[in-house]
């Protein structure tokens, strides 16, 4: 064997993706496929008077063009979330009466290619009477203008934990208060949304979609199009990232599916970047008020978090996000009283949705920034203050005042590792030197001790399906209800199954993201794929071994002298029987028929944790922030595939840096996103923005998971923003935490530096 043929790729996905032979939705070659272009609202809020699609039909090669009037009555996005939330708040597939955000679809035009479809879309005549825009949850909550007639703009009101008694605040030695904004973010997977729907020739539908929850999409499409779920098959081909933003059943998907059925032709829609910035969902979007009380020794007495959440124009998958924030308001601490209140509000910007972290980054930010503000108020060491207040390792499982049961944890250990990896003493010395030296650039140090939730909760997310089948050729096929959008499931799941079977990984093929191959599944979000899907496959593989042992005994009896029950042993894909006989799984399948084990794995959410530390330097004259060092200590439980997991940590860390320093979807007063130049205006981190970083791990296995796994994938988005912003606040010695709001643009930092200078 030559050296070149011996090359082993890190992942099975790598060869096709590195040679241009991967297949994303836009790459699928389908005969006679029509391409869709949507006509979208330019106004944030208005009453639709007329949408005339007829002129589009005059454009050469445009096939049909549809506005809402041509759709079946009440063709709306199937509701999601708590019962009652969507009632009276229909999300029309094509807006026929009212538009509620810039970019909302009004009509769809199909043509043989995208150029002609866009020509047709340009010809559609739209007449909308403007109504007042409601930008941001505060304005919308306070406004008399109702986004949905007869219903208030506040859609959700919740309390988590008991309200903190007044006497606790009154008796506290110190109470700090802070207000934070979680800006709206654009998820920006490099591949935007994409769908292709084709009639299957038997009255059903084949759908290819870049999606995190193909089973839910299948069920929603069936429901909306009045097709039984088994007549719809959704396949997720190669998918170009998602980060939480591809789990909804979008209006565009419903329109494309309907048109494919009506016309009896394949129809595809591939979102372009300009559309994505206004019409795809946004992440985050909260106004937070936090109060934290402590006694003379710095022991936390009470924390109150008030969340005003921006749902955007339609309450859909985004409804779950602020609830997650509230449930995690306790953080890593043994605080006696914790209470969180949530109000979620509809506004006239694009609907919000989970985005990498989905409520946990918001919670960690609210808690951890306030902890450091309290340390500053007390003149205490933020590291010591945390140590004094952590939930102790012997107190797990631990139920928090906000109703979470943390499975396991050693928060002080993660903090110790972070302090060590950051070389805290050295940087503190440097900080002191600079503070003493006139004109030296200020340097600051910040931390974040986080706890998050993975796997999911609620009846919808507590389970995942895995199956392992022995095939006649001696190989094994693993099927999982998850859906990969870049996380390398083909590789990692094959490893899980091969390990459980004790066979070579090359003998296992893993499939997910296809409702035809895997009829039941939940999907990939909440960092759940390994924790839930991997565990299901592990247990299915173990059951396959038991099944094969039983089957081998039956086979032995039929093929020769019987052997005692339970006498077959598994040996790396072979069944060994008394008397030196054996049979391979492939032959066993040939001789006895299908050999397959299915497992539905159920588990409560898991609570990974860790500690992030940042050292920053600030130029007070320009407001520029330079991150000199970043340390991430994560505890994901037992790590199954270290290389892929590390990749998740680094990627999420840079996304977290994006929220802290660069990214924001701003809107003008009319609700128009100020991103006319797309990716020139929306600043994603590039290679130049990646700071020197160090990754460390602690490993506290998940006690109720067969792999010991907790979720990994979102931690960087959770840990980085508070650590970095705390470091900037430390550099500027800010007494008022409200002066720093993300993203820390040079202008904001410059103003904060001026304010701090004026106050001192």
């Amino acid at each position: 064997m030559s050296a070149s043929t011996a090359f082993q790729p890190t992942r099975r996905e790598d060869v096709r993706l590195l040679t241009g032979t991967g297949r994303y939705v836009a790459d699928l070659a389908v005969d006679g496929c029509l391409e869709a272009a949507f006509v979208r609202s330019r106004l944030a809020h208005g009453r639709v008077r007329r949408v005339d699609a007829a002129p589009a039909r005059a454009v050469a090669s445009v096939v049909p063009a549809l506005a809402a009037a041509a759709l079946p009555g009440r063709f709306v996005v199937p509701p999601f979330g708590q019962p009652g939330v969507a009632e009276g708040r229909d999300w029309e597939v094509l807006a026929g009466e009212r538009v509620r955000h810039v970019g909302q679809p009004l009509a769809v035009v199909l043509a043989a290619d995208r150029y002609a479809a866009e020509d047709g879309a340009d010809a559609v005549v739209v007449d909308v009477d403007p109504l007042p825009a409601l930008v941001g949850p505060q304005a919308a909550a306070a406004s008399d203008v109702q986004l949905f007639d007869g219903l208030g703009n506040v859609v959700v009101e919740q309390d988590h934990g008991e309200p903190v008694p007044q006497e606790v605040w009154a008796a506290a030695h110190v109470v700090v208060e802070a207000t934070y904004t979680q800006q709206l973010l654009a998820p920006v997977p490099m591949e935007s949304r994409a769908v292709l729907a084709a009639p299957d020739g038997a009255g059903g539908l084949r759908v290819w979609c870049s999606h995190q929850a193909p089973h839910r999409l299948r069920d929603n499409l069936g429901q909306a199009l009045r097709l039984p779920p088994d007549r719809v098959r959704v396949t997720v081909p190669d998918a170009g990232g998602a980060f939480g933003s591809k789990s909804a059943t979008f209006p565009e998907y419903l329109a494309v599916a309907l048109l494919a059925l009506r016309l009896g032709r394949p129809v595809r829609w591939v979102e372009d970047r300009a559309e994505a910035f206004s019409a795809h969902t946004h992440g985050r979007g909260q106004r937070q008020r936090v109060r934290l009380a402590a006694d003379r020794d710095g022991r936390f007495l009470a924390l109150d978090l008030d969340v005003l959440a921006d749902l955007g124009a339609y309450p859909h998958v985004g409804v779950v996000v602020p609830t997650q924030t509230a449930l995690m308001a306790t953080g890593a601490y043994a605080t006696g009283h914790v209470h969180a209140r949530v109000r979620a509000v509809v506004t006239t910007t694009a609907p919000t949705a989970p985005y990498r972290g989905a409520g946990r980054p918001e919670a960690a930010y609210a808690v951890e920034r306030t902890v450091e503000a309290l340390a500053r108020r007390l003149g205490a060491d933020p590291v010591e203050l945390r140590r004094r207040n952590f939930i102790a390792p012997e107190r797990f499982p631990h139920t928090t005042p906000t109703g979470r049961t943390y499975d396991s944890g050693d928060y002080a250990r993660a903090l110790d590792v972070a302090v060590d990896a950051l070389e805290l003493d050295r940087w503190r010395t440097e900080r002191a030197r600079r503070r003493a030296e006139p004109g030296a650039r200020p340097l600051g140090i910040g931390f974040c001790s986080y706890v998050e939730r993975t796997g999911g909760d609620g009846p919808l997310l507590l389970q995942e399906n895995g199956s392992v089948e022995a095939l006649a050729d001696g190989s094994f096929l693993a099927r999982c209800g998850t859906s990969a959008t870049g996380q390398g499931h083909e590789t990692a799941f094959a490893q899980v199954v091969a390990d459980a079977l004790g066979v070579d990984t090359a003998l296992v093929r893993a499939v997910d993201g296809d409702t035809g191959e895997v009829p039941h599944g939940v999907g990939s979000f909440a960092s759940r794929s390994m924790q839930m899907g991997g565990a299901a496959l592990h247990l299915a593989a173990r059951e396959l071994v038991d099944l094969a042992r039983q089957r081998a005994v039956a086979w032995a009896a039929a093929a020769g002298p019987p052997v005692p029950a339970g006498s077959a042993t598994w040996d790396a894909g072979r069944l060994l029987l008394p008397g030196g006989r054996w049979i391979g799984t492939g032959e066993l399948v040939t001789a006895t028929g299908e050999l397959r084990a299915d497992h539905v794995f159920r588990q409560e959410a898991a609570f990974p944790f860790g500690c992030y530390g940042a050292v920053v330097e600030v130029d007070p004259d320009t407001g520029e922030v330079e991150v000199l060092r970043l340390v991430a200590v994560d505890d994901y439980g037992t790590v199954v595939h270290p290389v892929i997991t590390r990749g998740q940590t680094v990627g999420s860390l840079v996304q977290g840096l994006g929220q802290a320093l660069y990214e924001e979807v701003p809107h003008d007063g009319d609700g128009v996103p100020l991103l006319a130049e797309g990716l020139f205006d929306y600043l994603l981190p590039t290679a130049s923005e990646v700071p020197p970083f160090v990754l460390r791990e602690t490993r506290t296995p998940n006690p109720s998971n067969p792999l010991g796994a907790k979720g990994a994938g979102e931690a960087g988005c959770i840990g980085v923003p508070p650590a970095v912003v705390n470091a900037v606040a430390d550099a500027l010695q800010l007494d008022d935490p409200d002066l720093l709001q993300m993203p820390l643009t040079p202008a904001r930092v410059w103003r904060a530096a001026r304010a701090a200078g004026a106050a001192s």
């Binding site: 040679t19 150029y115 170009g240 290389v643 797309g678 020139f680």
Partner: protein, 161 residues
Amino acid sequence: MRVEFDVNGERRSVDVEPRRHLADVLRDELGLTGTHLACEHGVCGSCTVLLDGEAVRSCLLLAVQCEGRSVRTVEGLADGEGPGGLNPLQRAFSAEHALQCGFCTPGFVVLLQGALERDPAVFDDPEALRRLLSSNLCRCTGYEPIRRAALRAAGRDPDAV
């Protein structure tokens, strides 16, 4: 309009509307879907191809501008089929886990292949390499593995810098 150019060493002749950009012609007319479109306004670099050896954004170039020229896409990089056919840069990407979803990957690989062939000095200068890598966007990897893959492919020690 008829336009003739070399694509991955093969002479191709296609009839195209003058307004069609090179990326669409590569993808739709020539079936080379490895070149990906992620922004279509020249920011992200996912659609990077080599035009007469120079890295360009194929979404900013009309196909008719390529008359008589030579285009190299991600499909033209490997030395053969399968893992054994990956070229040293492609191997380095896999070895360093420098790709996750793979959507931006063709652009980065083509960009760096161009630099390896035309401007290898870039790999000795951390600042120049940083600038080069900053011309493309990736949302999954956090870039550090891509930087390491570039150094490894150039025969430099990724841990040295």
